[in-house]
Symmetry: C2
Subunit: 585 residues, 2 copies
């Protein structure tokens, strides 16, 4: 038996008890004739005390223990003289009478503290040390808790967790697949799933009307910040449901998680917004509604006064920043620099100050009268003391830039508190997206998403106009989940594939099994998938999904700790009937 207690549980009620603890040496310090060591494990930190006068030998042994040594100690729980009420065990210490070094440790390459001195690369290489930091422990514990609570809610609602295969069929639609050569079927490959989409639909056909799975998914993409080649979804599907049934069920899930994991009660129904409104008023399809500052279209109010920039622009829109009329030249220059960065790409920024004394001051005073500006201000629901920020140009790009500016202002004004959560359903997405490069439509969600019944009439004549039964759950501007009501009719599914440019033969080869299944009694069905990594990061108040994944990969898809991917033997390649191309050897 290595321990009677963990390092996180002893307190004044244990005083006088003989205990055995095991853990890591966090730090040690000498104070007069005393040596104190903080012993750490997953559960907490307990102070060990050694007295040079009463036990010189043991004390000098203790002084030799280095940081991160693994030790077992035996001793008596004693009340501390100077208490630390910030930690659970802060009122006691252990007067140690036996030390057993379980494993010595070399000096770690960075400090094992919440604020560490280790750079990202070093921490990834020594991930097992990085994970010792309490900030990482807290993130993984939170992840555990969200997973268990999600399962509890869904199980109570009679969902069945059913595992779908990891080695499936490659399909060229969507992102690139990772593939696995088959040794037993030379020249053939499995693919790793980008999601269990078709399998969960087949489970609906099979009659399992409530399915879920917390499941790894894989995408071979060029990694941008905050993408991982393998990531985890809470994947769900239901049969005999309409969109409303799904929204209610999964709003329930999210509320359950907020309540059980973060102790936040969300009593009101989540607000809902159409894709069109999201684009018009927030400039993107995942609005952060922790704050208002909606975008308003002032195009018609600005035309014909001789200001060429506005007269030439297809769209002019603005946002109102409350109580910012006192912004300095420097602050306004910063905002101009922000919107004209290449990533945002605005040509310039027009600002209008409605000063507290009722006067107006703007960059375009010579074109517009106070009367004109007052009309803009009315449209933007401004009041004296506010600052109006205006961008102009092509509609879509300008809205996008306004969205970025709005978020930046929200951050500057402290309106984006990490501990405030503002969920939002975004509804009525377009079914299809036109791609200028390839001159064809792509499915905005995926090819199995059903069009709205009232819009199917436009499928042939004006496909871009067709809206889908698709929905996203957005929290604080982060898309945490998305889904749709699926097509369950084989003829409509065939039509969709045709609209997406599949030949009949291609559709058959790739999705024949699904269309075949639809011939044998497919129920109406739909579902949703949540990005589990992202949801956890959001709950934890962390920026990057890497911080909530135990062993993430870097931006080149490498695991720096185990040093993979790596070369495999010639024999292995031969067994798989493949070879690496010469120019890459």
């Amino acid at each position: 038996m290595y321990r009677t207690h963990t390092c996180g549980e002893l307190n004044l009620t244990n005083v006088g008890q003989k205990v055995v603890l095991s853990g890591w040496v966090q730090r040690s310090r000498e104070l007069g004739g005393m040596t104190f060591i903080d012993l750490r494990d997953r559960y907490g930190i307990t102070q060990l005390a050694f007295n040079l006068e009463t036990n010189a030998e043991l004390c000098s042994e203790a002084r030799k223990l280095g940081r991160e040594y693994v030790v077992q100690v035996e001793g008596i729980v004693t009340e501390r003289h100077s208490k630390n009420l910030k930690i659970q065990t802060g009122e006691i210490e252990i007067i140690v009478d036996k030390i057993n070094i379980l494993n010595p440790a070399e000096l770690p390459p960075f400090t094992i503290e919440t604020e560490t001195d280790g750079g990202e690369e070093l921490r990834m290489k020594y991930r097992y040390l990085d994970l010792r930091r309490y900030v990482m422990r807290d993130a993984l514990m939170l992840r555990h808790q969200i997973a268990q609570e999600a399962r509890k809610y869904l199980s109570n609602e009679e969902f069945l967790e059913i595992e779908t295969p990891v080695m499936i069929k490659s399909t060229p639609e969507g992102a690139r697949d990772f593939v696995v050569p088959s040794r037993m079927n030379p020249g053939q490959f499995y693919a790793l799933p980008q999601s269990p989409q078709t399998f969960k639909q087949l489970l609906m056909v099979a009659g399992y009307d409530k399915y879920f799975q917390i499941v790894k998914c894989f995408r071979d993409e060029d990694l941008r910040a905050d993408r991982q080649p393998e990531f985890t979804q809470i994947d769900c599907e239901m049969a005999f449901v309409e969109q409303e049934d799904i929204l209610v069920m999964f709003e329930g899930l999210i509320k359950h998680l907020f309540k059980e994991v973060l102790d936040k009660k969300m009593e009101e129904p989540f607000p809902r917004m159409t894709f069109e409104d999201a684009m018009s008023f927030y400039g993107n399809d995942k609005p952060d509604i922790r704050f208002g500052m909606k975008i308003h279209d002032i195009t018609t109010l600005t035309k014909g006064k001789g200001f060429k920039v506005f007269d030439d622009a297809a769209y002019i829109g603005g946002i109102n920043a409350n109580d910012c009329s006192e912004y300095t030249r420097k602050q306004l220059d910063e905002l101009t620099a922000f919107v004209t960065r290449p990533q945002i790409g605005a040509k310039g920024l027009v600002w209008v100050k409605w000063n507290a004394d009722g006067t107006f001051k703007s960059t375009i005073d010579k074109f517009y009268s106070e009367e004109d500006l007052k009309k803009w201000a009315e449209m933007l629901k401004s009041k004296p003391g506010d600052l109006i920020l205006i961008l102009a140009g092509e509609r879509k790009a300008t809205l996008k830039a306004l969205s970025e500016l709005r978020l930046e202002m929200g951050t500057r004004l402290g309106l984006r508190d990490k501990k405030t959560f503002a969920p939002l359903w975004v509804l009525d997405f377009p079914l299809l997206e036109w791609d200028e490069d390839t001159k064809r439509f792509y499915a905005m969600h995926h090819p199995f998403t059903s069009p709205k019944a009232e819009d199917t009439q436009y499928l042939d004549s004006d496909p871009g106009k067709v809206r889908a039964n698709a929905y996203d759950l957005v929290i604080n501007g982060v898309e945490v989940g998305g889904g749709s009501i699926r097509i369950h009719d084989q003829h409509l599914q065939q039509k969709m594939f045709k609209t997406l440019g599949f030949t009949e033969q291609d559709a058959e080869i790739q999705f024949g099994f699904l269309m075949n299944a639809f011939r044998y009694g497919a129920p109406p069905h739909g579902g949703i998938a949540f990005g589990f990594d992202r949801l956890t990061a959001l709950f934890a108040g962390l920026e990057s999904i890497r911080d909530v994944i135990a062993f993430p990969k870097n931006n080149s898809g490498r695991d720096l700790m185990v040093d993979t991917p790596s070369e495999i033997s010639q024999q292995a390649l031969e067994e798989l009937s493949i070879q690496v191309k010469k120019d890459h050897k």
Copy 2:
């Protein structure tokens, strides 16, 4: 809204209510002027009634519904005239007044019944139809329940469920890896994990002292019956533990599952047996102890009486079959045929009947006196009326054959009831296994298993003698779990790799990250992994793990439903910098 209730919940308390149900047409029958349809969903079957006299139009509509049509009906819950008390809804029926066909169905290629007429291949191809059968539904629901209960138990014990990566590093030790070519790192490959072994050990180094995960694992083996290329483990690891701590914790898990899932209380501690005893008394390392019939060594009792077969044999052993002295010639011939099959390979079978009247009758009467046979019978704890079955030959092979014979007799005598569960810990496995072909030792469990402290002295002089801190959990002769206390000392780990024939460089390339981790304070640790598919099959009383996997692969590793593995495009191959060898194109 597609339904107010499921097809499994209405009963007499609902009589008079207007309800809406949705489901599949299981079967329909006509009886006088009535048409009855069994409507099926995941939850049960509800009878729909149509009266030709009172609603001719609707009734004729109902008569047109084919098997497996998906329909929605509206009607009134009514008490049945002839009740079916075998099913929950058997006391009521729905007098339907509206039918809505949600999706028609072609005639399925086999009957959707527990006893189906579909062959295995057909059912695999149309797995979505096979899964509609209640026997499959029951298996998947049981699987769901075991998973949730396992998580509940482990979470309550403060285990954290932590996901480890699916794309890891290939290591040549153990079975063959499936590999994934990396597009971003040309010429390099990831491997799919055969288990999360090294990652869970790193989690222990990282201080997460109780870890678990229900996780997919992958092995590219030539598939034998009841093997799958991807399978699922309940994978667990603990730090600061000795073997006893692990046995107690996971005996608790198994008892919890038996109680919560099968309502079977197991109050006694699980029996324990050493590997050596298992081999001596049961002839294999996973004894089925639902019944006794132990193997006894009678070598010394049989020598020197002129029976050459026994005199020449290194080992002679027997089992006692209670109350079988009346076995007929035919039955004994069957047993002889059984043990002399090539798969078992015994040269012949010697039997001794101790008749109820006290006399003996055997195949070897001319060599042995009644006195001799009585001594054997005493050793085997026989009594009058019993039958003794004896095999002779090389020790290991003979014990293996006796094991098969024992199991066969257990089956014949009805001693292997599927609903009786006999768990057993098998302990003290050898650390190493000698392989005659390659003339080297292999790790019996894996290279991270620790030797018993008292045996490490033999690591250099007599490696085969060293026992490991390794244990298996066996239930009814099925190995459902296994694990070990791991090495946590870098020097001992290096020594192990050397004993296993690794060069220092190989060990460094393949497992350097783990040995590196051990330098920074690794705690003592150990763990266990349960075969989740096998455990579920055992609980379900099913023979094959395929019956508890939603979408299994066949013996060639193919998924017949989605038709994979399959070829991928030339463009995809090029992006991955690999090519398929010509002779396989």
